[in-house]
Every structure is written in C-alpha cells, then in structure tokens.
C-alpha cells in the first residue's frame, strides 16, 4: 500500500468509526434515556409504560404503608396537585420519610401506578441533585 493511500484509509476508518459511534449512541439514546416526571406531567396523559424513567416529588403525608414482609412499601408521590401511587421493595434510603422529597427510578404500570427499582431521598442541602432541587422547588411552591 502506498503511503498516501494508507493515510487516506486510516482517515476514512476514523471517520467511519466516529459516525458508527454517533449512530449507535443516538439509536440507544432514543430507548434508554430516562426522562424525569412529576406527577402532574403524567396526569391525564398517555403513560410511558415499561420505559425506565424517574418520578420525583414529595412523599404524601399519611400515604406510607409497610407490607407484612417488612421490606415492601407503598406510598404516594405528589406535586401538591396530582398523585401517583408507588410500590417499592428494598432498603429505603436513610432520609426517606413522609412529607420529604423523593426521586423514584423505575417504570409506570398500565394501571397508572409506578414500580420503583431504586429510591433517592433528599440528602442534606449540600448534596441535593439539581434535577431534584428543581422539581422539589416546584412542588413546594404548589403546595402553598
């Protein structure tokens, strides 16, 4: 292979690799990006059933029910107006409690409820995720 051709081949390969990476990434982004919802975002609208999403808001006071097995819980997430029932099985984060902020990672069910695989609770002020800071602010102002 001549030097010039080799350089061209390498450059083309590199471009092909970059394009391939971009295409692969973009196609995966379509399915795998987990969007962030507040209860109000899904009220009366078609649910993104079966997709990995995040649901954020406050744990409604008086809604927390602990199941007999000691590790399953059910509660309601509210933004002050709309409410989504959530089920979760696992160890809840230390700061998870009624009336406090929560972000649930999981999927909506066809009946409008939410099954969480993971819960993120509001840590102290210094370590609050910005997504949460935004959503919580919204729900707090709606509550007043």
């Amino acid at each position: 292979m001549k030097a010039k051709h080799q350089r061209l081949t390498l450059a083309l390969l590199a471009v092909a690799a970059i394009l391939g990476a971009a295409l692969l990434a973009l196609s995966a982004l379509k399915d795998q990006a987990a969007f962030f919802y507040a209860p109000g975002d899904v009220a009366g609208r078609p649910l993104p059933v079966g997709k990995a999403v995040r649901l954020g808001g406050m744990v409604e006071k008086g809604s927390l029910v602990r199941a007999q097995d000691g590790v399953s819980i059910a509660f309601k997430v509210t933004d002050g107006k709309d409410v989504v029932p959530v089920r979760f099985r696992g160890v809840t984060p230390d700061l998870f409690r009624e009336g406090s902020g929560v972000v649930a990672e999981g999927q909506f069910q066809p009946d409008g409820s939410f099954t969480a695989d993971n819960l993120l609770a509001k840590h102290d002020e210094r370590y609050m995720p910005p997504q949460m800071a935004g959503k919580m602010h919204k729900s707090e102002s709606l509550e007043q």
Binding site: K4, I18, A33, V91
Partner: protein, 642 residues
C-alpha cells in the same frame, strides 16, 4: 498568618510558572537551547516546590483545625479522626483543585528532573507548555476557588466532612486518580511541543512512552480503587454505576490506553505519527473535561461539592482555551508531520489501529452518554442516562476489543498472514467455544452476553500467555511480560464481572433476632443487634453468624451509623472475602415488631474484578520498569561510545 503564607506560596508558584513559560519558549527558539535549558529545569522544580508548600500548608490548617479558614470551617471538625482531617484537605472543591495543580506542577518538575532523551528544543517547549497549563489553573484557584480564604468571625467548630467520604479509601483514591488524570498533562505538553518544534518520530515516542505509562498506571489503580470504594461504601452491591463522575475517570483512561498502544507503533515502527499526537491531546483533554464535569458543580454527587456558576464558566473558558488551542495547533501543523512507515492489512500495526479505533468509539459513546443529559437540560428537558444505555453501546464494542486483544499480540510487525494468525489462535478459540457451551448449558438464556464475556475471558487468558510460548523466558524483555500480565488482567477482570452478573444471589428480608436467611450456599443468622460507638459516630451493629454447609461459622458486623457532624446516617456494609467470592451484608431499618431489614448477597468470584485491575496496573509497572532500565542502559552505552 499560616493561611496567608499558603496563599503567598501559591502566588509565587504562579510567578515561577510564568517565568518557566517565557524562558522555556525562549529556549525553544534559541540558537543554542542547551544554555537556557538548565535554567528552565530549575524554575520548573521551584514552581513545583512552591505548589507543594501551598498544599502542605492547607493540610496543616486542616490538621490543626484552624476554623478561621473558611474551607476548614466548612469541611472539617475538631472531633474528626486524624486521617480524615488530613484527607479532608482534598475532600472539598478548593482543596482538590489545589491538589490538581500541585500534581500538575510536580509532573512538570518530574519531566524537568528526569527527562534526558528528548532534544533540548522540544524539552524546553514541553516545559513551557506545562507551565502554560499551570498558569490557567493557578488563576482559577486565585480568582474563583481560593482555598485560603478567611472566615471572620471564626466559628467555634466546623461543619464536618460528608460521612460518605470518611473512609480510608478517600485518603488514597483522589491523589492516585489525580496523579493519573493530571499526569496525562505531560503527554499533552509533549505533543504540543512536538507539533511546535516539528519533532515527531521514534525518538520522541520513546521519550514520551514512560510518562504515558506512569500516568496510565496511576489512572488504572485509581479507577480500580474507586470502583471498590463505591462497592463497599454505597451498600448497593454494584461495582460500576456509569455515574457521570465515574465516566469522567473512565474517558481519560480509554484515551490513555489507546495512546499507550499507538505510541508503541510510533516508537517501534515509526507509524501513526499524527494519530499519536492527536491521542495525546485528546487524553489530557478528557482529563480536563472530567475536571470540568466534576468541579464545575454541573453534576451533583458525592464528588461534586458546591454549585457556583462562576467556577463553571471559568473552567469552561480554560477548557476552551487549552483544548481549542491544542486542536488548532494540530490542525495547522498536521500537514507538516510527514508520513511514517506503512504496513500491511494483516500486521501488528493494523491490530493496534483496530485497538485504537475501538477504544475511540467506546470513548465516543461514553462521552455522548455523559454529556447528553447536560445538553438536554440546557434545552429544558430533564433526563438521565444510566447503565442500560452504556450496556447497549459500550459493552458490544468492548467485546470486539477483547477479541482484538487476544489476536493482536500474536501478529508480527509489518506483515503477517491471516492463516498463520488463525493457526496461532486455535487453542484460545477452542477454549472460548468450549467454555461458552459449558456456561450456556449452566445458566441458559439468563444473560447470554455475560456468558459470552466469561467465555471470551477464558480465551483471552490463554491467548495473552501465548506470546511467551517458545520464548526463552529469562531473555524475554520486561515490556513483553508487562503486556502479558496486563492482558491477562483484562481477562481476569472480565471473568469477575461476568461471574458477578451470572452467579450472584441476593436476599432481602426483615428478620427477627435469632432467625436466619439462606443466600447461595450460606446460612446467615441474625444473632443480635447492639449499639456501638466510634470516634465521631454512634451505630447500631448487627452480629451475623454466617455458615456454609457444615463449615466453620464466621461473624459479620454490618452497621447503621449515625454521624453528628453533619447529622447523617450511613450504612456500613460488612463483607467476608473467601477464596471463591464475597458474602456482602447490609443492615437496614427496624420495624415496630422488632424485625431488622437485611440485604445479603453471595457474589462468587466478584473479587476477580479488582484483582484484574491490579494485574493490569502491575503489567504497566513491569513495562515501565523495562523501559526505564533500557533507557538508562542506552544512555550509558552512548556515553561510553562518545
């Protein structure tokens, strides 16, 4: 007064960096650079000493709990154990940025002290470039992140350190990672100097190689240690979360790994000249992107400490300046980099090109996955990208890379035949096939990808030892051993990852005192839950009795810890490491009926993940040792000859 001395040391370091830049640039253009070079070397050393002094002063302020310093008051507490007072110096934004520039200056001083192979002009330009980077980050410290700012009036005591960070892992993880991260600045400065001085060739590559290796070793150790830290500290049983902060350390590693391989082509065969320079620029650019992601406050996690928009803009400006400048220089000068040696389609060089392309593609998708949520957020859409995205994109490409890792070292330089390669690969391919069938029969369709990874790991293990076949072991150069050990480490690590995915068992239940749970082959009994105290925390501690079959029982003591400063609860996992895996236990909350939540895992061979990481780093060390010894021998031979 001591805090002011620290600030003064920082300003003096800045002044010496400016002097280093100017004298280095003058030396690079001088008719006889050898006259000025010793001066540049000495200035680089002094600059590093002042940076180091500033950093030691900050540690001193933390150790003595000087609460009149804002940073200490916000992040420390007099009641904290000594180790965390010291480590607390870099467990915050300003302190970690000071560590960052200190490492930058020390790396530059290392080049000034030890680099003997590079021609004087290129070395002067390298030191000038290194100083140019330092100046920007000193300015960032001085104007946007002063670690020595005072607080008046001084509070009686500090606010304490995030308890998640109060762990021996914190003491060593950031410095190691930074040595790797920022050590890559040397490769960046080398590339900039080579472009400026039009000095790209095997001699340049041989000079750059040990520095890239050293940074890469630290980066490998830092990532491995960080993964283990997240594994035992977070209590979620996972070892890699595709968290943006983890990705920020993975991206420079991917680029540095590619660079490590391409610099070998340049040193051995004088090929891939422009590409190697590009990678050197990209590798440190990824380090700076990582610094921006973690330190700008754009992401919030355990690693990101505060949100301050000026810092983000400042870092972004520095990023644009250095990356943009280097890329512009590359664009302007790449035409003058003459074509190196050519090679055939089936050859070691071609395999290394494949390695580089695949690593770059993985780097590309990780970069897209990490930055996309930020871009979306800027456009008003909130989303997050988690493990499923990376498992669908990076993992399949990595499988091809693993296959290439097995084949590459078995190819000859310049020209080889596909048939010969296939015959050399017979045994590894057979091993992969047999193990795939075996494990597939065991686990079925649960996770075919993990089965494939496991089978490839066995095949790669066989293939990576193959280069030693029929060699005289005592006369084999150390770098060959380094390659064998590092590639073997990849196989070991992959086997651990696949084994964890395929064979881990989990139990989650609420149990009363005296009851037991079964997880895998183990019976775990909750013997008691008792209160206990540490230096700055109190805790509820579960005493778990663990027994495999009729074997000897042992105890595990997971805790729920309560820290008073700042008031926080943390779960402390208890892990038993056995020869064939780990028992991982977490204590949860208690309920009204006196039951305690227990989360238990049996993770067969999970330890191989980090053992493999250690082997990869060890391979790097062997290779580095070989290169350094060889370099010395060459230098001595040259002296005798002259």
């Amino acid at each position: 007064m001591i805090a002011e001395a620290g600030l003064a040391a920082l300003w003096l370091a800045t002044a010496f960096a400016i002097a280093q830049l100017m004298l280095g640039a003058a030396a690079a253009r001088a008719v006889d650079p050898v006259v000025l070079l010793p001066g540049v070397r000495r200035i680089a050393l002094v600059q590093a000493l002042f940076a180091l002094l500033a950093f030691l002063i900050l540690i001193w302020l933390f150790v003595t709990s000087d609460m009149s310093v804002l940073l200490v008051a916000e992040n420390s507490h007099s009641q904290k154990p000594m180790l965390y007072k010291v480590a607390g110096a870099w467990g915050n934004h300003e302190g970690s940025m000071l560590l960052w520039v200190t490492v930058l200056a020390v790396a530059g001083a290392g080049v000034a002290l030890f680099e003997r192979r590079l021609v004087a002009e290129t070395l002067s330009a390298t030191l000038a470039a290194q100083a140019a980077i330092a100046i920007g980050f000193y300015a960032f410290l001085a104007f946007a992140s002063n670690p020595f700012a005072r607080l008046n009036p001084a509070p009686a005591d500090g606010q304490g350190l995030n308890p998640l960070l109060q762990d021996p892992g914190l003491a060593f993880h950031p410095p190691t990672l930074y040595l790797g991260y920022v050590g890559l600045s040397v490769a960046f400065s080398f590339a900039v100097a080579a472009l400026l001085m039009r000095d790209v060739g095997p001699a340049f590559a041989k000079a750059m190689r040990p520095w890239v290796l050293a940074a890469w070793i630290f980066l490998t150790i830092g990532i491995t240690a960080g993964s283990y830290w997240a594994y035992y500290e977070l209590g979620w049983g996972g070892w890699w979360f595709w968290d943006p902060v983890e990705n920020a350390s993975l991206m420079p590693w991917l680029a540095a790994t590619a660079l490590l391989h391409s610099v070998n082509v340049l040193a051995t065969r004088d090929g891939l000249r422009a590409w190697t320079l590009m990678l050197a620029v990209v590798a440190f650019s990824m380090s700076m992107v990582g610094t921006f992601l973690v330190r700008s406050g754009i992401l919030v996690s355990v690693h990101a400490f505060a949100v301050d928009p000026t810092r983000g803009s400042f870092l972004l400006a520095l990023l644009g300046l250095y990356i943009g400048g280097a890329l512009a220089l590359f664009g302007a000068r790449v035409g003058t980099v003459t074509q190196g040696a050519t090679f055939q389609l089936v050859s070691r060089e071609a395999a290394l090109v494949l390695n580089n392309l695949l690593l770059s593609v993985i780097l590309g998708v990780v970069l897209i996955g990490t930055l996309y949520p930020l871009v979306a957020q800027a456009m008003g859409v909130q989303l997050s990208i988690g493990a499923p995205f990376f498992e669908k994109t990076a993992v399949p490409i990595a499988l091809f890379l693993v296959a290439g890792t097995a084949a590459g070292p078995l190819l000859r330089w310049r020209k080889d035949s596909a048939q010969a390669l296939l015959s050399r690969l017979t045994i590894p391919v057979a091993i992969t096939g047999v193990t795939f069938a075996l494990f597939f029969a065991m686990t079925g369709f649960a996770s075919p990808i993990a089965v494939l990874v496991l089978a490839l790991a066995f095949g790669l293990a066989a293939a990576s030892i193959a280069p030693l076949w029929k060699r005289k072991l005592r006369r084999t150069p150390l770098p060959i051993y380094g390659m064998v050990v590092a590639h073997l480490g990849i196989a070991v690590s992959l086997a651990g990852m696949a084994a964890d995915t395929l064979f881990k068992q989990e139990r989650l239940a609420a149990v009363a005192i005296g009851d037991n749970l079964a997880v895998g082959p183990f019976k775990v009994t909750l013997a008691e839950v008792r209160p206990t105290v540490g230096p700055n925390w109190s805790a509820m501690e579960a005493r778990l009795q663990v027994q495999r079959g009729a074997g000897a029982p042992f105890e595990l003591l997971p805790q729920q810890r309560f820290f008073a400063n700042p008031p926080t609860n943390t779960s402390e996992t208890a892990i038993a490491t056995l020869w064939d895996g780990q028992v991982y236990t977490v204590l949860g909350a208690s309920d009204a009926s006196g039951r305690w939540q227990l989360r238990l895992w049996w993770k067969p061979f999970v330890t191989l993940i980090w053992a493999g990481g250690g082997l990869i780093a060890l391979g790097g060390m062997l290779s580095l040792l070989g290169r350094v010894l060889r370099g010395r021998r060459d230098a001595r031979a040259q002296e005798e000859w002259a």
